[in-house]
Symmetry: C2
Subunit: 341 residues, 2 copies
């Protein structure tokens, strides 16, 4: 257990949307209701916590706006079976060191936003001995099967870990560090360390990417969801050089993936020595978006993300790439100038 890392804890806290006000990162669509279980991630260095709901998988899922009876049924199963089993397993392990797990996954082709196969597999393999002890025997096969089939299960945990890191950097007077990027399908917003709880928004752009069979641009909703917290923390699009195979899911070439990461070094305040990219000679991931550098360079932060259908009830229809709108950063910079002068 890393003392300076993020730790997956298990407890009964429940938080409501709007997510970022409560240090929670949640669904792209739908809400986290009072009866839904959440993961609790502790920032052991700073002492703060962040929360996320459970990842349901791809396609027809609540977080992309689907809401049919089988989806409600799966959410109930997550509440009644999966969450208690994982809670007990996580408690039995004394927590899971997410810093080390994410670092390993970055060496294994994940960028921990839209590619989480390695992290999910490592987490499953790590928790399984404890799950065997703590899960009711008649539920163990269901739990193992769900974890074996949902390659994106780690996504929400990754989001909460990023949130726990960034919340600790929020509220530093004069700081130009972006501490959140979030989208609600209509607007794209950023929050800045030195500017309190004000959000700087612009119209949400459309995502360019690959569609699941049967869908195209005309079906897509503008960009939405809390998951850009991963890019804000140096993962996702910022760490795409670590995950060249992701281009099969979001489009482009492995060289594009490399280039996105290299470009992001121009707009970040630092890099994260805990998270390194083998393809770049173990160079640390570009971390900490700087409002000033974004405006100075004209480079918009890159985000890879899922695409939701514009009509409620359908769910996820693809995945691709999108840039954070420059207007948000320009507006934040003007406000920063006001606070200093």
């Amino acid at each position: 257990m890393s003392k300076s890392g993020e730790k997956l804890a298990a407890s009964g806290e429940i938080k409501f949307a709007p997510c970022h006000e409560y240090s929670a990162v949640g669904p792209m669509s739908g809400i986290i209701s009072a009866s839904m279980p959440v993961f609790v991630v502790e920032n052991e260095t700073a002492g703060n916590r962040a929360y996320s709901n459970f990842n349901e998988g791809l396609g027809k899922v609540l977080r992309f706006g689907a809401n049919s009876p089988e989806i409600i049924e799966r959410l109930r199963w997550i509440r009644d079976v999966l969450a208690p089993a994982l809670r007990n397993a996580i408690l039995a392990c004394g927590g899971v060191d997410l810093k080390t797990l994410t670092a390993k996954a970055l060496q294994m082709g994940d960028e921990c936003h839209n590619r989480n196969l390695a992290a999910t597999s490592l987490l499953t393999r790590t928790l399984m001995p404890a799950l065997v002890k703590t899960c009711p025997p008649n539920k163990l096969e269901e739990v193992a099967s769900f974890l074996a089939k949902n390659d994106h299960f780690y996504l929400n945990i990754s989001m909460a870990a990023c949130k726990a890191i960034l919340d600790a950097a929020h509220g530093i007077p004069g700081s130009t560090l972006v501490t959140a990027m979030a989208r609600n399908g209509v607007e794209f917003g950023i929050r800045v360390s030195g500017l309190g709880n004000e959000w700087f928004t612009a119209p949400a752009p459309y995502v360019k990417g690959l569609y699941f069979p049967g869908y195209n641009d005309e079906d897509a909703n503008p960009d939405l969801g809390d998951s850009a917290i991963t890019e804000t923390c140096g993962l996702g699009g910022f760490a795409m050089a670590a995950a060249p195979a992701i281009v099969q899911f979001v489009g482009g070439t492995p060289q594009d993936a490399l280039n996105y990461t290299l470009e992001m070094y121009n707009i970040t305040l630092t890099s994260n020595p805990a998270y390194t990219i083998p393809n770049l000679g173990f160079r640390p991931t570009p971390t900490g978006i700087d409002v000033l550098k974004v405006v100075e360079t004209g480079i918009n932060p890159i985000i890879n993300t899922g695409i939701a259908h514009r009509e409620a009830g359908v769910g996820q229809i693809g995945a691709g790439l999108v840039r954070a709108p420059m207007e948000c950063f320009v507006a934040a910079l003007h406000r920063l100038a006001e606070t200093i002068s």
Copy 2:
């Protein structure tokens, strides 16, 4: 289940060393005795089978020449607990599609010789739902813990899969394809498709690499083991571009890893469209060492491998890189010329 792939089967076959005579790939040191369980890999296209023993882990293990009571105890546990549990789980799954699993692992930073973290994690996650059903409940935690801790568990399965592929290409008159490379700690030998069961040998070279703490060059035995069957099949050193993080285990830089793979395209007859390398724009792995091309270009096949202590009983002391000796290929080429003239 891929009909044209390799499949992990489960049965009771037992084979003796010398391994390659029985389509088995086995320990670097020690033997596979009659009471030891083996994995059975079926080549569904060609109908042949290959076999391997179970991977015990790193350090003090039989396959690197260690032989203390705790090692014998672990081998007994593998025979009595792990093997029956896995046998039943594999049977319950109807086999495991190794072609797909290896292909996925290559997208996740494994080269399936000395880096098997992704493949082992995927295999564990895939088998766990069946294991829950088939393993005696009081043994499940032990089995899950062993699989959670041994990051190299897939190595021996990878070896047997490669053996099953290459055996199907053996015995083609006039063919210059290398169908096996193996080392016994004294000699390095190759077998060629068009030259029957004759081995062409040269003194085994020393491995250059990284040592575990407390060991150095003077402790090392010359190169040994059957695992170079993976390189013979286009994995391991030949697929190192897929596994840049492996250089932390075997030495060198990620650029070296890329260069080894690029170099190997010069001495291979083809490339394998089932196994692709994201870092190289999903270029297929260089596959099928050609005796003629090796001699013509003067490029020795690259192998990454473990280093055993030169004294029996100590076990693995490091890992590194070694080149197959040119003399083997020159001798084989002379014999090929004789068979044709």
